[in-house]
């Protein structure tokens, strides 16, 4: 009695499982790619952090050190780009 429904449903379930496997593989690959990007972006993040800190330290040091007329003028041009 349930046979026609069951057969149809079995076929559908089979297709569903196949599609699900494919989706799983694709998502795993996507995860892998995104993880690689994130790892690579760690350098970007680190570089940004270091540059920020460098500029902050440079600015502070320039402010602190006794500035003669010419040096202060030159260094301010460099720091002014921050």
């Amino acid at each position: 009695m349930n046979n026609p429904h069951a057969e149809r449903q079995a076929v559908l379930l089979e297709r569903i499982t196949k599609n699900a496997e494919k989706c799983t593989e694709l998502i795993l690959e996507l995860n892998h790619c995104v993880e690689e990007i994130v790892q690579a972006n760690a350098y970007v993040k680190l570089a940004a952090l270091l540059a920020t800190k460098y500029s902050r330290n440079a600015k502070y040091n320039l402010e602190v050190t006794p500035a003669t007329g010419s040096e202060a003028h030159q260094s301010s041009d460099i720091v002014g780009t921050q």
Partner: protein, 497 residues
């Protein structure tokens, strides 16, 4: 089609998840006719299940299509597109690390260094931002802005090295200065290898190489088989560098005999001329000279002196080409359209005669070779000229020997032998035909009948070995440019005039 952010449709929120109710009587199925009989309801439920499964299947397939066709390619394009940004970021991180004399490990370094140093690395990571942000004054961990670049970059000894902080680090390394104290020793090679510029690396390797083993550097000036130093060949450094990196991973100190970090020197095969076996160059040259003189004297009536004849032989028209063509035309009419090697073999087997004028054969042929270009009628002459041009330049191959089968003058090719034999046959006729023995002697007849002979064709007579022409000869010695064949040279010496 990539859309801008503004054009994207707002994502609808997910519908609330269905949660099964514990009480079976309270289950309400939309689409089900509750008034129908139980069996009908069961059928309806089955149909609803089937439809639901179809929807699920459709959704899954749609997901798979979207993932494979849109998302993954976009992610990969993003990765490729941001590659330059990452490279620049790597450079700048190394720049800042060298400037601050600090190593900032990332996840790559952690995975390569395999965790035991992770605690110390974490300590480094924690300490570095703190130190860089905390103190304004100069410290060992922060950028020492008070230190002028002049002391690092303007050293005359390192003029070839770039004046970036990488150079300073390389010099510090070369002088065995210590890095930040908590650096694990394993991390140094891989990190420094990663971070160094190729110029710095090359410079360091040169110094290490010369310091550790000065002799190979000095003997590298030798020509033949010296191992190439990095200074010699531009391609060696990259290969040495490529070899060095895994060497670093293994550890420095396993090869006390080699300089630190250097892979064992490998000899690159230089491009050389094919090595030829030895042949009696001087005797060959003397023999050639004698035959030339004899030929010239014979041709000119023997009036002029030896030196003049050797000079005049160059001026005289080549006497020998027609001999080849005549001989070839007489002998090769029967061959027709046979292929070259077969014709050569047949010819050789057909004419197992000795060259009567042993001494005159090579002289006229060598006189012929530099003078005239091979004529179409003189295809045999051209063939004869070709091995003779090789023989004429045999003085340069004075080291030729038995090994090189192609340029082996001790075993001349069958074409040369044939030509020499034919020439020897007609040698008596050509005493008066010096002027006429140019390229224009019966070209048409010769070209019609003559088969081109491959100059380097090896004659394989029946029952004979590759390099032995014993089956071709009789008992008399076979004359070559350098004299009789080496097998019979000793026996045939008294026969030469």
């Amino acid at each position: 089609m990539p859309k801008s952010i503004k054009e994207l449709k707002p994502i609808p929120p997910n519908p609330p998840r269905w949660e099964p109710s514990t009480d079976p009587s309270s289950i309400a199925i939309p689409g089900l006719d509750a008034t129908a009989s139980v069996n009908d309801q069961i059928d309806q439920i089955d149909q609803l299940i089937t439809l639901k499964l179809q929807d699920i299947d459709a959704n899954f397939s749609k997901m798979q299509q979207v993932l494979s066709n849109r998302i993954l390619p976009a992610v990969k394009r993003f990765a490729i597109g941001t590659e330059p940004v990452r490279e620049a970021a790597k450079f700048w991180t190394s720049f800042f690390e060298h400037a601050a004399q600090v190593h900032i490990p990332t996840s790559d370094h952690l995975s390569s260094m395999q965790e035991p140093s992770s605690s110390s690395d974490d300590h480094d990571v924690v300490s570095t931002p703190e130190s860089s942000s905390a103190t304004p004054g100069p410290s060992s961990n922060t950028f020492d802005l008070n230190r002028t670049p002049s002391e690092s970059s303007f050293l005359p000894a390192h003029a070839a090295v770039s004046s970036t902080p990488a150079a300073a680090t390389a010099r510090a390394q070369a002088s065995n200065s210590t890095f930040f104290a908590s650096q694990p020793s394993i991390a140094d090679p891989s990190w420094s290898a990663l971070v160094e510029s190729p110029l710095v690396r090359l410079d360091r390797e040169l110094r290490e190489f010369t310091r550790a083993d000065p002799e190979p550097a000095s003997t590298s000036i030798d020509t033949d088989t010296s191992p190439p130093t990095p200074t010699r060949t531009p391609h060696v450094p990259t290969r040495v560098l490529a070899d060095r990196t895994p060497h670093y991973a293994e550890g420095y100190d396993e090869e006390p005999t080699l300089p630190v970090g250097m892979s064992p020197p490998v000899m690159l095969p230089f491009a050389r001329l094919p090595t030829l076996g030895r042949s009696p160059a001087k005797s060959a040259a003397a023999h050639i000279r004698h035959t030339l003189v004899r030929d010239a004297l014979r041709d000119a009536g023997g009036t002029s002196a030896t030196s003049a004849t050797t000079g005049s032989s160059a001026v005289l028209s080549p006497p020998s080409l027609s001999r080849y063509t005549r001989g070839a035309s007489a002998s090769l009419t029967s061959l027709g359209a046979d292929p070259e090697l077969d014709s050569l073999m047949r010819r050789v087997s057909l004419f197992p005669r000795d060259p009567p004028r042993v001494s005159s054969v090579p002289s006229s042929s060598t006189a012929a070779s530099p003078m005239t270009p091979p004529a179409p009628s003189g295809a045999a002459a051209g063939v004869a000229a070709t091995p003779e041009s090789d023989d004429g330049s045999a003085s340069t191959f004075s080291s030729s020997g038995e090994e090189d089968s192609v340029h082996n003058t001790a075993h001349p090719s069958a074409a040369f032998l044939l030509a020499s034999r034919q020439r020897g046959r007609h040698d008596d006729d050509d005493n008066d035909d010096d002027e006429d023995d140019s390229l224009d002697a019966d070209p048409d007849a010769a070209t019609a009948s003559f088969e081109p002979v491959h100059p380097f064709a090896r004659v394989v007579a029946a029952g004979a070995e590759d390099d032995s022409f014993d089956s071709l000869d009789g008992d008399a010695p076979e004359e070559t440019v350098f004299g009789a064949r080496p097998v019979k040279r000793g026996a045939a010496l008294p026969l030469r005039t």
